[in-house]
């Protein structure tokens, strides 16, 4: 490595991912609002023939927001913050920089393939793992390149210790690698059945209950290693950096890390409570889910305490607002999840709208808020410009917060109502309600949910506009801001 006084951080890869975050965010969440509206107003299913039905769009929504929006946000943050905490610029490693760009191209191809194939109804039929095997192979290549880049950066670092965010990125890499491979073990039908079916079709290597177990081992850990672990990596970097306050307790961050790593992997069984999997496994899923409160709250409280003595920033800086509310939603979500995983509660909650309610207070309040804050923080450094509009950011915050609250409160009420109605029996033990009775009762809540989603989507457009204007019309900065991101 050459010492060079004019050396700067190279943000070219981070910048590419920033834009895909915005594009996939708009696409994924627009579909989300549409399918939410379809549940309230079924006639909206027939806008685009087979391509517009709920069943076709729902996997498109989940996959685009997870692997399009969230993963892009994670990669943008990784390629921005990992070099910084390691004190090595991507520009110093031309081969790794080129490989990272190739990784981005592979990502774009895989993500576009995902949108097209799911849109056409080509699916492996496993939740959050719907992509068929050719795309799975491409994703493995993409993931391996990420690993190479990550460890190459670590190998070239000037800083001896690895900052806690990097621990979480490494965990994200290893966790997803292991789980993804096991869950996507599938047999391409054409090659092993004497020419049956299309070349891209496959069937899972597991069957029945085993398939369900592996599926939810993955499914829940997609939540763990895509929605939680790397987002904690984001908050451990961006909140201290934006506020200028070092993390409250580094020791607590280490303890929470190991706690989370050990516990999270075993919680997936809670998706299969009251099903055909062995009872001890269900109990294990429940217990580990409840224990999970400790490491989750460890990280979240650590973040809130980082703001100790600096709470005035909450009123002055909208990015701090986003991040503090994100960690608060993380606390809410990680308390709500374990409650739902208790067997008796799950008997009511399972298959009801309380579940998507829970998912969305996590993903909208925690994941998306963190990604918005991270991208805005980055934008001032990447584009070397002031954030275009503080008031727009403030307005986005309040509109989206209202949206999230409307979303999860309506789904709490809808879910519990639904769960109770399904179980209600008369004095002779006959079920009191048919399915359509519940649908009729839930209609207002579905409408409220769609409105909540729409408010959130409006915020996404405000964010996209603000980011675009920051990149093109924000006031130019002569020096990179040290902590607080300047905004007009």
């Amino acid at each position: 490595m050459q010492s060079n006084t004019a050396l700067e951080y190279d943000y070219s890869v981070a910048k590419l991912y920033m834009w895909t975050t915005v594009i996939f965010g708009i696409v994924g969440m627009t579909i989300g609002v549409l399918i939410a509206a379809q549940l309230a107003f079924p006639e909206l299913n027939y806008l685009m023939g087979e391509y517009g039905t709920f069943s076709r769009l729902r996997p498109l929504h989940t996959n685009v927001v997870i692997y399009g929006f969230t993963l892009s946000g994670i990669m943008a943050s990784f390629y921005y913050s990992a070099p910084r905490v390691l004190k090595v610029s991507m520009g110093e490693l031309p081969l790794i920089n080129a490989l990272a760009k190739f990784q981005f191209v592979a990502y774009l191809v895989a993500a576009t393939g995902m949108v097209i194939s799911l849109g056409m109804g080509i699916t492996a039929n496993k939740e959050y793992a719907q992509m068929e095997w050719p795309l799975d192979v491409l994703i493995v290549v993409y993931w391996v390149i990420w690993g190479i880049n990550m460890f190459a950066l670590i190998g070239a670092r000037r800083e001896k210790a690895l900052y806690i965010s990097l621990w979480y990125y490494i965990a994200c890499f290893l966790g997803v690698a292991m789980l993804y491979l096991f869950n996507n073990m599938e047999v391409p039908t054409l090659f092993f059945s004497g020419g049956l079916g299309a070349w891209y079709h496959s069937v899972s290597m597991y069957a029945g209950t085993n398939d369900a177990l592996v599926q939810w081992w993955w499914g829940h850990n997609a939540v763990a290693f895509v929605f939680t672990v790397p987002i904690i990596a984001l908050i451990y970097y961006f909140l201290p950096k934006e506020s200028g306050q070092a993390v409250y307790s580094y020791k607590l961050s280490l303890l929470s890390f190991w706690g989370l790593m050990f516990v999270y992997l075993w919680a997936g069984g809670h998706h299969l409570l009251w099903s055909t999997v062995p009872d001890w496994m269900q109990t294990m899923g429940s217990i580990f889910s409840v224990v999970l409160i400790l490491p989750s709250w460890g990280s979240a409280i650590n973040m809130l305490l980082t703001m100790k003595g600096e709470w005035n920033q909450l009123t002055e800086n909208p990015l701090i607002k986003f991040m503090v509310l994100a960690s608060t939603f993380y606390m809410l979500s990680t308390l709500e999840g374990p409650i739902q995983a208790v067997k008796s509660v799950n008997a009511i909650a399972h298959f009801t709208d309380w579940i998507p309610g829970h998912v969305h207070d996590g993903v909208l309040g925690w994941v998306a808020f963190m990604i918005f804050a991270a991208l805005m923080h980055m934008s001032t450094r990447v584009f070397k410009r002031e954030i275009y509009s503080k008031s727009l950011l403030e307005a986005q915050f309040w509109i989206q917060t209202t949206g999230v609250v409307l979303y999860f409160t309506s789904m709490w009420i809808a879910g519990i109502t639904q769960g109770m109605m399904w179980r209600a029996v008369d004095e002779y033990g006959n079920l009191m309600y048919s399915f359509i009775d519940t649908v009729t009762v839930l209609h207002p809540y579905y409408t409220i949910r769609a409105i909540g989603g729409l408010l959130f989507l409006i915020g996404v457009f405000m964010f996209a506009y603000n980011l675009y204007k920051t990149a093109t019309a924000g006031r130019k900065l002569e020096n990179e801001p040290q902590f607080r991101s300047p905004m007009a």
């Binding site: 490595m1 070092a246 580094y250 303890l255 001890w280 990179e480």
Partner: protein, 70 residues
Amino acid sequence: MSLTEMQGYAFFFFTIFLVVILYGYILHLYKSEKDGVRDYEKYGKMALDDELTDKPIEENPKETNEKKEK
């Protein structure tokens, strides 16, 4: 002793073992800080002082050797 009972005991002792490991780790963190082996809290500065020109919190020995060679 039946298999189920054995599983029960194994589970119980394994839980105790893990609790010991967890508290042992907390103890280890605090003890190594008290004995001056390692100051964990200084690592929090890594996110704040992250300019290329900032002095590393702890210099990577590999990097130091390369500098010496030059």
